[in-house]
């Protein structure tokens, strides 16, 4: 029997059955518009406010009204940065890092075209943002600093608490893209001293098409789209009530299951150490830094990531890769490149990302499949000597 082992939870996660159950009534009988004056709509608003509270709890927010629901985390990131820069119009400098998600990076590239100066703070060889460079970049012109809490490709956790403390003193707005942190590590926006924090429901067993932006009380920003009074005009448009309710339930469960993260971390460590033991050409990317408990980014040298992915796919093991061939852009991972890894290690990188639903048996199955796949691909690689069992990469040009 072929197993289906889903190890791509940083891409998206299974909707928890409890979450789906919580959502279904809002697709059926409770279809009212939360803005309506009558009972039929008004009672829906109550459930929406409960969800807002559940999300506020997950983030450690002081007030429920600090949570604004958005369509996606990409929208949340854009609203946070655009919202601040369009309020502080005379401040034309933005600080971010070289390893951000495209939702932040490509927005910053667009801002550059609009006349902004952007500082892309570099990372060390483990992928951790250089705190010193960031601190030195802050100036009177700085409108906002946007740094991710944890990286999607490597799981590496950034020093956001230190950054928050520094920026609070400097009175510079701080946005954290927390998409990969929510549900994996504890979050407290008050302790982090951030003004804005973005999350996405589908990364922690909630539905797709719903995200949230924490906006600290008193933060000055402008909306990016204009319309009705929903979300206090900060993000107008009829609310995605089933999505919001689902996100609330998912947030409640994620908070409860933080206690399981230690076990998840052990499972990831077992996967990682067994891979390193069984496959001599493998090595971990970002392994020297603190990481989210579910992620391991491993390079298999002398072979290419997409071909590994496709062979694993045929055996029912689902992962992702930083190789150029796998992406729509045909560019290799900007995160691994920013870590200054040689191209040979980037093209052969595979990301394993687990969840609280991943079992020991699933990890065992993946481990039983992987060495054979790697061996087969090494056999056909022009960079592998099949007799001597060693690989060599010609000088990178």
């Amino acid at each position: 029997m072929t197993m289906h082992v889903y190890l791509d939870n940083n891409a998206t996660t299974m909707v928890a059955p409890e979450v789906l159950d919580a959502m279904l009534p809002f697709y059926r009988e409770m279809y009212g518009n939360a803005s309506s004056m009558h009972y039929f709509g008004g009672r829906v608003a109550k459930d929406m406010e409960k969800a807002r509270h559940q999300v506020a709890e997950l983030l450690g927010a002081e007030n429920d009204f600090e949570i604004t629901f958005t369509g996606t985390a990409t929208e949340g990131d854009n609203l946070a940065i655009r919202g601040i820069t369009s309020y502080y119009r005379d401040k034309k400098h933005v600080i971010t890092s070289t390893v951000e998600h495209p939702a932040v990076l490509n927005l910053c590239r667009q801002l550059e075209k609009e006349g902004y100066r952007i500082t892309y703070v570099p990372v060390d060889s483990n992928g951790v943002v250089d705190l010193q460079v960031l601190k030195e970049a802050v100036c009177d012109e700085t409108a906002i600093v946007s740094i991710m809490h944890a990286n999607n490709e490597t799981g590496v956790i950034m020093p956001v608490k230190e950054i928050g403390a520094f920026l609070k003193e400097k009175k510079v707005p701080f946005h954290i893209d927390g998409v990969q942190a929510a549900g994996k590590i504890p979050i407290n926006v008050q302790e982090l001293n951030c003004d804005l924090y973005t999350i996405s429901a589908h990364k922690f067993h909630g539905p797709k098409g719903i995200g949230a932006l924490y906006v600290k009380k008193g933060t000055r920003m402008r909306p990016m789209i204009y319309g009705g009074h929903q979300e206090k005009g900060r993000r107008p448009g009829t609310e995605n009530v089933p999505g919001i309710v689902g996100m609330g339930k998912a947030a409640e469960m994620a908070l409860y299951h933080l206690k399981d993260m230690k076990a998840l971390s052990s499972l990831r460590d077992r996967l990682q150490s067994e891979v390193l033991k069984r496959i001599p050409t493998s090595s971990v990317n970002g392994g020297g830094a603190e990481r989210t408990p579910n992620t391991a980014n491993i390079t298999f040298e002398f072979i290419e990531g997409e071909s590994i992915l496709l062979h694993l796919d045929q055996k029912g093991v689902y992962v992702s890769t930083g190789s150029a061939c796998s992406t729509g852009s045909l560019e290799p991972s900007h995160v691994l490149r920013a870590m200054d890894l040689p191209f040979s290690r980037i093209h052969g990188s595979i990301r394993f990302s687990l969840s609280r639903y991943t079992t020991d048996e699933e990890v065992d199955y993946a481990l039983s499949i992987l060495p054979g796949v790697i061996d087969n691909l090494l056999t056909i690689s022009p960079f592998w000597d099949n007799e001597k069992k060693i690989g060599s990469i010609p000088q990178e040009g």
Partner: protein
């Protein structure tokens, strides 16, 4: 996830003719670790017929499938017949490839060209250094290609760019990016070439040139019809003028501006000049 045909899936799962060949008659190598795919093709030739072929590939699923397909296609063919195989033939053999993966088949045909050259004792003709960042994924066109077209062919708008390079002609998603690059390159000289644009003019130089053109060509022309012209202001490429004398009340003043003044200024100052009557 890419949509691969059954033939492609079959060939990357169970590739044929894999591995290094002992004492081959020709070897062709293309690609590098940096680009993310590399292919070495080995051929054995007897009495001008390719009797055996094998390959080693560092690359994605379609790169493996393309390499394997190629070895099957050339076996039994004469060198001249094999030479005629184009990347499209590999694509057809595989029942198609996703647009973004066409370059994998190109790699195959390039390795074949190099292997045949090696067999004939010639230097490998294909050095596949592709410069720049790929902008149009459908047509595999880089920013460098687009920048070159701006400078070498004097292209200044998206429609001409699409016609000239093919960029943006399939799905069209990259059109705004292409427009940004055209905008960036206009008036600046990043690629040195004989036909490349000159250094951008300063405002003072521009005004001087406009005055020269007015005095030497435009005013004498207008005076023949009893008119005159006064330069009011220059803002960027927009030139504000006042027509005097017979021209000022003439119904065809705007025609005059458009047809005569503007075209003269475009000829002698810059092709981007726009003339406005105040």
């Amino acid at each position: 996830m890419w949509e691969y045909t059954e033939k492609v899936k079959d060939l990357y799962t169970n590739p044929v003719n894999v591995g290094k060949m002992e004492n081959p008659d020709g070897v062709g190598h293309v690609g590098s670790v940096v680009c993310g795919d590399a292919l070495t093709l080995y051929i054995r030739v007897k009495d001008n017929i390719i009797t055996d072929a094998s390959f080693e590939t560092f690359g994605c699923g379609s790169a493996i499938a393309s390499s394997s397909a190629l070895t099957e296609m050339i076996k039994g063919k004469t060198v001249e017949e094999a030479e005629k195989i184009k990347n499209q033939d590999i694509v057809d053999y595989l029942g198609g490839l996703p647009n973004q993966k066409i370059h994998c088949s190109v790699m195959g045909s390039e390795a074949l060209i190099n292997a045949i050259a090696d067999y004939r004792g010639e230097k490998p003709p294909v050095d596949d250094e592709h410069e720049g960042e790929i902008i149009c994924q459908c047509m595999n066109i880089t920013d460098v290609d687009i920048r070159k077209a701006v400078h070498e062919k004097g292209i200044t708008n998206i429609d001409d760019m699409m016609e000239s390079t093919g960029a943006g002609t399939v799905c069209g998603t990259c059109i705004p990016k292409i427009e940004d690059i055209i905008e960036e390159e206009r008036g600046r000289c990043s690629i040195k070439d004989d036909r490349c644009c000159e250094e951008p003019m300063t405002n003072l130089q521009k005004i001087k040139k406009i005055e020269d053109a007015i005095n030497s060509v435009i005013r004498p022309g207008l005076k023949r019809d009893g008119g005159d012209i006064e330069l009011v202001d220059v803002q960027g490429d927009v030139v504000f003028v006042k027509l005097r004398g017979a021209c000022s009340s003439c119904m065809s003043a705007s025609m005059t501006l458009e047809n005569f003044v503007q075209s003269e200024l475009r000829k002698s100052v810059s092709k981007d000049i726009i003339v406005k009557h105040v």
